[in-house]
């Protein structure tokens, strides 16, 4: 490690997922202090900034790309970043959000907003982004550089990958996690 530490600019985003991957990231506990000197968290659910800043070194994406806002966000993040990680099975494979895909959008809307709604039966359109036909893994929308599997990926796996990255190495996450881990 060099004496002069340059901090890398990191953004995280939570799209169609349950936030479990962000929780697992926080589960690295006090080891976050080892990462803190190397990382500048500039955007994401843990940071109060509304616009995605320019010049990102690393973007960590949790969740599948399931609606137009998700797609817009990953496209913009990809454009503004050097390296993108798909964190967790939703981002890597579609996982649970993709289970609606074989059923079809209409049947899902019918179940959610009519069959199971006692009052105000209607498909919401105001202030919510339109759903994409399928919930898809992030790499089918934009280029992804590294995949960390798991639902959620274990905190140890996240710490391992991030500490390798800040040390300038690109690790193989399949050594420490797997689909459904």
């Amino acid at each position: 490690m060099s004496d002069t530490i340059t901090k890398i600019k990191v953004a995280t985003i939570w799209i169609d997922g349950c936030s479990g991957c962000h929780m697992s990231f926080l589960d690295i506990d006090e080891r976050i202090l080892d990462l803190a000197p190397h990382i500048d968290m500039v955007y994401g659910p843990l940071v109060d900034l509304k616009e995605i800043p320019e010049g990102l070194d690393l973007v960590i994406v949790e969740g599948a790309v399931a609606n137009e806002a998700d797609l817009h966000h990953v496209l913009e993040l990809r454009k503004k970043s050097k390296f993108m990680i798909a964190l967790g099975d939703c981002a890597v494979s579609g996982n649970v959000p993709s289970m609606r895909n074989p059923i079809g959008q209409e049947a899902c809307f019918e179940r959610a907003y009519f069959e199971n709604a006692d009052t105000g039966q209607q498909i919401p359109t105001n202030g919510v982004p339109a759903l994409l036909k399928n919930a898809i893994p992030v790499h089918q929308a934009v280029k992804v550089d590294l995949f960390i599997q798991g639902c959620p990926p274990p905190a140890d796996a996240i710490f391992f990958v991030l500490s390798e990255l800040v040390a300038g190495r690109v690790p193989d996450p399949t050594k420490v996690t797997r689909f459904g881990a």
Binding site: A86, D89, V92, S93, G94, N95, V96, S98, M99, N101, P102, I103, N134, I136, P137, H139, Q140, V144, F147, Q149, C151, D172, P173, T174, R178, F179, G180
Partner: protein
Amino acid sequence: MSKVTRVVTLSINDQEVTGREDESILQVARQHDIDIPTLCFLEGLSGWGSCRICLIAVEGVPKLLPACMTYCAEGMKVQTENEQIKAYRKSILELLFSERNHICSVCVSNGACELQSLAQKCGVDHVSLPYRFPDYEVDSSHNLFRNDHNRCVLCTRCIRVCDEIEGAHVWDLADRGIDAKVISDLNAPWGDSETCTNCGKCVQVCPTGALVQKGTAVAEMHKRRAFLPYLNAMRGNHG
């Protein structure tokens, strides 16, 4: 017993080994602690050779061959792992994942699934092919077991164990190619099957969460296969 089975010398990964000419490369490799990954193969059932995970390279043969169905020959030179084989194994696994809906995180076999562990072993960190998201049914008509076609890899272990060990031949493969599907009887719901003996052997040999015991929650389905070597030994079946 008139035919004499010869013992031959061959090399696997540049290691000299001996095997009988009626033994597969897979058998001889495993006898020598050389690891070859498999999926459709299961010790105690007949070979099938459909999944192609156990592909090996044999010197002088232009294409890769399945180790489970390739037999020992004198002077054979076998490689069980190179860049091409690794890439093929990864592609096969990616095809399997993209073909149906394998959602590991909500599967009763999570943590005890051969497809899942093969993916990790072979370094499949994502599926580069587009997913098909097909609409497959889940057959819960049987009072003890469930057949989730979403998680089937068409290894045919269930078909073979039911035919060869249980002798009931409930299962078969219907249709071809991407439409191929495991069916019970003549495509009747499993619960209506007149041939099923409720033995559960098919459930125990299934490598994934396709055939499972009812009443299991996520990651609770652990398959028990001790019956297979036991029954084969008691019946005097070898090889």
